[in-house]
Amino acid sequence: MNGALLRFRAGDWGAYAILPVMALATLPAMSFSTWLTLTVAGIAMGMMLFLMAAGLTLIFGLMQVFTFAHGAFITLGAYLAVSVVAVMAGWSAAESWWLNLAVLAAALLVALVASGAAGYVFERVIIRRVYGAHLRQILITVGGLIIAEQLVVALWGANPLPLPKPASLRGSIILGGAAIEKYRILAASLGLLAYAGLHLLLNRTRVGLLVRAGVENLEMVEALGYRIRRLFIGVFVIGTALAGIGGVMWAFYQELVTRSIGGDMTILIFIILIIGGLGSIGGCVTAAVLVGLVTNYVGFLAPKLALGSTIVLMMAILLWRPRGLFPVGAR
């Protein structure tokens, strides 16, 4: 059985082809080793973006909640990583794969739990009162974002904090004449793992079936006897927990944590959601990798245009497909 959210239908060949076309089109502009480095970097960045964006696409698609506060959970994850590394500084500096990975795992676990818990509170206190009121959702979540950002500064200080990668995750391996950063392989793998997990959850479980049905027609799911509010909470918690994990991975990647780390990602995440189509996990991963690749290729060819290029890309795709590459649902 293949899930509808993740299936590429025959009519989607254009959307399906966009990744390889994008990757191959840039090959003539650079040497193969450069291209390989950039492609891996793009995929790694894309998979980290996917972690941050995956939950939000479900929140938008299923719950029709327009939250601008998703970046706050990314920021929370990033700062928690700083604190975990501070506590486990010895393990992080040690030249041992196992100890280093343990630090990363601890940071991920702490961020997963804390962001998920914060997401639960956020849904219960903030979101549940504004279901169905889109303008108020936007306003209240912008307010939530302001408060969260200010609280982070109150707790961790206003200055950017360095976050060195654990010792053995630094450096590169040489593959096909190209230098590939170890951390990028790790980040891409983790993103892939999360994608596989979400894929299984959505396509092999009853909860996943409900989520997919709910993205299409919430009212009918209720008329079939399912209480969607519980589903909403679950999706929100999973989404914010993923954002926390994404924040940890992104923070280690940047090696510097600022209070606007989540807010800065929000724009990229929105671009990914718009390109991929709201509510589509398959669209989300495609769009995330696309944005990662474009950012890296353009960043190499014309460094100043990197972020701008993704916005141009979004506009072009909107003109081509006004509802994104993989639109879901009738609404």
């Binding site: 938008f60 029709q64 327009f66 601008f68 903030i126 009162r129 889109h134 303008l135 108020r136 936007i138 306003l139 209240i140 912008v142 307010g143 939530g144 302001i146 408060i147 200010q150 609280l151 500064v153 109150a154 707790l155 206003a158 807010g263 929000t266 724009i267 929105f270 671009i271 959601l273 718009i274 709201l278 100043k304 245009l305 972020l307 701008g308 916005i311 141009v312 979004m314 506009m315 909107l318 003109l319 006004p322 509802r323 609404r331």
Partner: protein
């Protein structure tokens, strides 16, 4: 009262307290140079005037059409860059000021129309996100097109001689105020702001404004009645953008400088949002009060918080929460509470008390 009604387009503030507050703001701003002498208070008063126009123009979009755009600072910046580029690349004359302003306003209106046609056509959710993306694109452009915009550092320029501090109307101060170019600049901004505000009041109370409100209340019904909702919203967006650009042009004249941080930053966007929501969406009078509250808070809340923070020394975390730099935290809390409990803001609350 008839001439007043004409001036206010029949849209009276409503409520004695509200009317008195607005009157106090008007009088305070009209006589600011004499009531609060000094360079700094005059700067604060000028900022309030400009932000009233900026926030009111945002309210035309947010409050009267129910659409949350995050590109409003972009339009503000276009007006400011129009004046800044014209004055620094051409010459410091009034014709350059007009040319720059016209160019900025035209560009803002054009871009607003393009955004409207492109994204109001797709799902409503996209609009806020797209405006955010477009705004950050504009920020990138302003930073990267160094030759034109001065990049990160921005542009410093000379203004027409009439507006410079060196210009003197009279050698002696009158009623404690020096009659120099600063004063001229202030009154130029004050009169323009008042005129623009009254103009917006006229627009939202015109048949056009009523259609906008009908669309906000029930889009499908308005469409069924034969109104082309996309066209109306796009036009409202263009008007709102043009007003923001005019505010930007005034800001550039006031500062005699423009850069990305001064007119394009996301923090500024948040400020505008706070002004409109705290003051009261969809009232136009709300943004007036919101702008006063916000600008005053920015300048005068911080010393108060420093005192509180000092008083809490020795407690864990608390001093950090009341640190003067955390003023935005408390405004954020206020903002959330207002969205929850007083969705109509200060103005809504005051009008409600009257009924």
């Amino acid at each position: 009262m008839r001439p007043l009604d004409g001036l206010l387009s029949g849209d009276r503030p409503g409520g004695l307290v509200l009317s008195l507050l607005l009157l106090a703001v008007l009088l305070g701003l009209a006589f600011a140079p004499f009531l609060f002498p000094g360079t700094r208070p005059l700067g604060v008063a000028a900022r309030i005037c400009i932000f009233i126009v900026l926030a009111a123009s945002y309210d035309v979009m947010l409050g009267y059409t129910g659409i949350a755009s995050f590109a409003h600072t972009m339009f503000f910046g276009m007006g400011a860059y129009g004046v800044a580029i014209a004055l620094s690349k051409l010459w410091a004359g009034w014709d350059a000021v007009l040319l720059g302003t016209a160019a900025g306003v035209a560009l803002a209106a054009l871009v607003a129309i393009l955004i409207g046609l492109l994204s109001l056509r797709v799902r409503a959710i996209f609009f806020s996100m797209i405006t955010l993306a477009v705004a950050s694109f504009a920020l990138i452009l302003a930073t990267e097109l160094r030759d034109l915009t001065g990049g990160e550092d921005g542009l410093t320029f000379s203004v027409p001689r009439l507006l410079t501090p060196e210009f003197r109307l009279a050698a002696e101060p009158v009623l404690g105020a020096r009659l120099d170019g600063r004063l001229v600049t202030y009154y130029l901004i004050f009169v323009l702001s008042l005129a623009l505000f009254l103009l917006m009041l006229r627009v939202v109370n015109s048949p056009f404004g009523r259609v906008l409100q009908a669309i906000r209340e029930n889009e499908f019904r308005a469409e069924a009645l034969g109104y082309r909702t996309v066209a109306y919203r796009t036009l409202a967006g263009a008007l709102s953008a043009a007003m923001a650009a005019l505010a930007g042009a005034m800001m550039a004249l006031l500062l005699r400088y423009n850069g990305p941080a001064a007119t394009l930053s996301f923090d500024l966007m948040v400020d505008i949002l706070l002004m409109v929501v705290i003051g009261g969406m969809g009232t136009l009078y709300g943004p007036v009060l919101g702008a006063v509250v916000l600008v005053m808070a920015e300048y005068y809340l911080q010393p108060a918080m420093a005192a509180v923070s000092g008083g809490l020394k020795g407690w864990p975390v608390l001093p950090a929460l009341f640190d003067p730099d955390r003023w935005l935290l408390w405004l954020g809390v206020l903002f959330v509470l207002i969205v929850y409990f007083f969705p109509a803001g200060i103005v809504g609350k005051l009008r409600e008390g009257r009924r």
